[in-house]
């Protein structure tokens, strides 16, 4: 069971839900699972937000594994200078 967190600006995509629990083993599975609950959400996430899985920020996650007990945070994409 992984915990998934959405910041306020993305909570509109999840009908206001900011925290979820998901039985998934990869980010790909998570997207599929989210899409099942909130149709259309993956288009709004892929390439538009970054993700932190257990503290590691990833810009374009997909195949990245998610362990039981992992924390997944959706974030703004951060550019750099």
């Amino acid at each position: 069971m992984a915990r998934v967190y959405f910041p306020d600006h993305l909570a509109s995509l999840t009908e206001g839900v900011r925290e979820l629990e998901a039985h998934v083993s990869s980010f790909r599975d998570l997207l599929e699972w989210l899409e099942g609950r909130y149709p259309g959400i993956s288009d709004k996430l892929i390439g538009k937000v970054a993700v932190a899985i257990d503290g590691d920020i990833i810009h374009d996650p997909f195949l990245d594994p998610i362990e039981p007990g992992s924390e997944v945070h959706f974030l703004y994409r951060i550019e750099g200078g």
Binding site: P7, K48, D56, I57, P61, G80
Partner: protein, 763 residues
């Protein structure tokens, strides 16, 4: 993943591979290239900050001597709205295209409206003067308060704020609102023994790279373009130019030149598509360089901001609540660094209750671009200043206040996830112990402390390693070397392969020769591209083991790699001599062909970088001039691959931050014309303005990198703003909440304070 080990090459202060060319004048930068038949392109720019373009008449210009092409916005294809997702700066391709060449409106003073290519610069400039543009002037919006006012004129008609819970009914200059919160901020403030709140402002500033933007472009009749460009990311130049001109990515080849500084400002495009289009129209290669004045007026500076911070604390210094209201100027198109600014503002501190609201606001100024830790210096200047005010009210040492609340491994960052291993506490403790923190101060002198933070970035990188026939090593990668990264790559390859550093050379290859690699930015190169180089080296080692095994007639898993040699594993019964890389390379043709290692990856787990700075200043109370006497930069970089260049990043960032704090600002006329568009009056620090900048590198390894690298380039610019401001307060007893702390502003504040003190005394 990080391994504790003794390094042979890593950590050595070697001479960079590109060094000799750079000290002898051989290195070729953006403006140093020439092609046979080359002509020169120049841009006509809007003299108004906000105007409708009624008509452009280029007929006379086109007939002038030497003129071979004239283009305006009408000559560019129309580009639809599409988010830029691949690379660095946030934004939209339609905005990017409109920024490159104005269409129906000029949105800032200096916005490109037409361009000419001619056989000489003088002829091109004469032709620009002959282009007649009819403008209908509109009221320019020049600051946040005006742009956010209810009845404000719109910079972009029909722009509706995004990020609100419900779609707004009325258009606005606020492009985006974002909110981050945790806990109950109001309850947190009620819990506090002391609550402080203040508003801080920072001006528009520029990266100030010494080399102006420059490119050389040529396109043939088949639509295949080649661009030599001074850029932080040639893959982004390729994708953006292709998009703006409607070309296939495969038809655009971008060759990165040496780059004379960028600091985030060379992560986007300005003249590149214009040069290609002029080349198409003229049939000639076209060179375009921006003048220094154009760089100031029409490239991408960093946002001016207004930040309101509120902090509640208990008597012992424990933070109970924090709130931030952060408005960032985006310039004429959406996409400021408000979001990272909002994510960074409270990142160093553990606080259960906070509310952060950010606003990305359009004004009639050039579209902002990334500038070193984009967004963080502004918001963190505000927060780190207010923490200083809080420490004074609590009677606490400012380092102790930060230590009391500092995030550490496992703490949840304000921007969401939990931190892995980080070195903030180590930086604070090092600052507390630093001898510079104890030097006695004299009359009118003050000491200030502030912390800095930046995420650092991973993203996509590729690397190839070729083992040459003599056993020397060529590393091929795709990140323009802006500050010594060839040396870091060579050190990492040498370390992995076990060969001397001098036997490794690094080639920054063009878009057709290197695998796709994200821009040199986000402090990502040593971390992410370094990781690719390490993996490519490990690929080579694997191949070498196979070649050795084949040579010896044993299984590959019976072979080890140590000290740059293939050796049989302990216990393997084979009477063979170790094979060096050179020996394996010499025999490569007989064992399966050339040795070519490669890696491509999307690096995850960039390690957050924290810093603590100590600034000592002296203030001349008669003139308001602030001099920096001492400056100490302490930063956790994870692992310093080349300590000399890491220190250089820390020192250079400190210097830029000091400039931001003391003198740098865009001065605008009421019509929106920048009045100081040159190095004479846009005052970046000169050698005599600064002391030596003391550095202390902290190494708390990043567990996600084989050597522990975090990245180090951006964090250094964050803390100096508040460190200098806090020192100035300490020296004078007067708090000035607006940058820069220029002499007129400081003197006025001192006189005001003296006046009100005198008033109180009299009363």
């Amino acid at each position: 993943m990080s391994e504790a080990r003794d390094f042979r090459s890593i950590g050595q202060r070697v001479i960079r591979p590109d060094g000799v060319d750079k000290v002898t004048g051989r290195a070729a930068f953006g403006a140093d290239y020439a092609l046979p038949g080359m002509i020169y392109g120049r841009v006509l720019r809007s003299p108004h900050a906000h105007a409708r373009i009624v008509s452009i008449d280029t007929k006379k210009a086109a007939r002038m001597p030497g003129v071979l092409a004239v283009v305006t916005g009408a000559d560019f294809p129309s580009v639809g709205s599409e988010e830029i997702t691949g690379g660095e700066g946030a934004g939209n391709y339609k905005d990017l295209a409109t920024n490159v060449m104005a269409r129906d409106k000029a949105l800032y003073h200096g916005h490109a409206v037409a361009a000419v290519a001619a056989t000489s610069v003088a002829e091109a400039e004469a032709a620009l003067a002959a282009i007649k543009v009819k403008y209908e002037k509109l009221k320019p919006l020049l600051d946040l308060d005006a742009a956010m006012a209810d009845d404000a004129v719109l910079v972009e008609e029909g722009l509706f704020t995004s990020g609100l819970p419900e779609k707004p009914t009325k258009p606005s200059n606020v492009a985006t609102v974002m909110e981050l919160k945790r806990g109950d901020v109001e309850a947190g403030f009620r819990e506090a023994d002391i609550v402080v709140e203040a508003t801080y402002r920072t001006p528009t500033v520029h990266q100030g790279y010494i080399e102006p933007h420059a490119c050389l472009a040529t396109i043939n009749q088949g639509g295949q373009a080649t661009i030599w460009a001074s850029t932080q990311g040639h893959f982004d130049v390729r994708s953006s130019t292709a998009k703006v001109l409607g070309l296939n990515v495969s038809d655009v080849r971008v060759i990165p030149t040496e780059i004379g500084g960028g600091f985030g400002g060379k992560t986007t495009i300005y003249v590149e598509p214009v040069a290609v289009l002029l080349s198409k129209r003229s049939g000639r290669p076209v060179k375009m360089t921006m003048s220094r004045e154009e760089v100031f007026r029409a490239s991408g500076p960093a946002s001016a901001t207004k930040c309101v911070i509120k902090i509640g604390a208990r008597k012992d210094g424990t933070l109970t609540a924090m709130s931030a209201w952060l408005a960032y100027e985006a310039g004429a198109f959406r996409g400021s660094s408000m979001a990272p600014g909002a994510m960074c503002v409270f990142a160093p501190y553990k606080v259960d209750n906070f509310l952060i609201r950010g606003f990305d606001v359009l004004v009639n100024k050039p579209k902002v671009a990334a500038y070193r830790a984009p967004g963080a210096p502004q918001s963190m200047y505000a927060c780190e200043s207010l923490l200083d005010e809080l420490a004074a009210k609590l009677g606490m040492d400012p380092i102790d206040l930060r230590l009391k609340n500092a995030v550490e491994e496992g703490a949840q960052a304000a921007y969401g996830p939990k931190f892995n291993a980080i070195g903030f506490r180590e930086c604070l403790e090092a600052a507390k112990r630093h001898p510079n923190y104890k030097i006695p101060l004299g009359q009118d002198e003050g000491r200030g402390v502030a912390a800095g933070f930046w995420f650092n970035a991973g993203m996509q990188s590729s690397a190839e390693i070729h083992i040459n026939e003599d056993g020397t090593v060529t590393v091929i990668e795709g990140n323009p070397d802006i500050g010594g990264s060839r040396a870091s790559m060579a050190l990492m390859a040498a370390e992995e392969l076990g060969v001397p550093y001098e036997r490794v050379r690094v080639q920054i290859a063009d878009t057709e020769s290197a695998g796709y690699t994200n821009t040199t930015g986000g402090s990502r190169v040593t971390f992410a591209t370094g990781m690719a180089v390490i993996q490519a080296a490990r690929d080579i080692i694997g191949q070498c083991k196979q070649r050795a095994a084949a040579t010896w007639g044993i299984d590959a898993d019976m072979v080890d790699w140590a000290d740059g040699k293939a050796i049989p594993k302990p216990g393997v019964n084979a009477d063979v001599k170790p094979l060096t890389l050179a020996a394996i390379a010499a025999n490569a043709g007989r064992t399966g062909g050339p040795l070519l290692g490669r890696a491509s990856l999307n690096a995850r787990g960039a390690g957050p970088g924290f810093s603590v700075n100590i600034a000592d200043v002296r203030v001349d109370r008669d003139t308001g001039k602030v001099d920096v006497l001492r400056f100490t930069a302490i930063q956790d970089v994870g692992k310093a691959i080349h300590p000399g260049y890491v220190e250089g990043q820390m020192q250079g960032g400190a210097a830029q931050g000091i400039g931001w704090a003391l003198n740098e600002e865009y001065v605008y006329s009421k019509d929106g014309v920048m009045e100081n568009a040159g190095f004479l009056d846009y005052r970046i620090p000169v050698a005599s303005d600064l002391p030596m900048i003391d550095t202390q590198i902290i190494e708390v390894p990043n567990p996600s990198h084989p050597y522990g690298v975090r990245g180090c380039g951006e964090t250094p610019i964050v803390a100096p703003l508040a460190a200098v401001a806090n020192a100035t307060h300490a020296a004078t007893g007067v708090r000035i909440r607006e940058l820069p702390l220029s002499p007129p502003r400081v003197l006025a504040a001192l006189d005001n304070a003296a006046g009100s003190a005198a008033g109180k005394a009299a009363g």
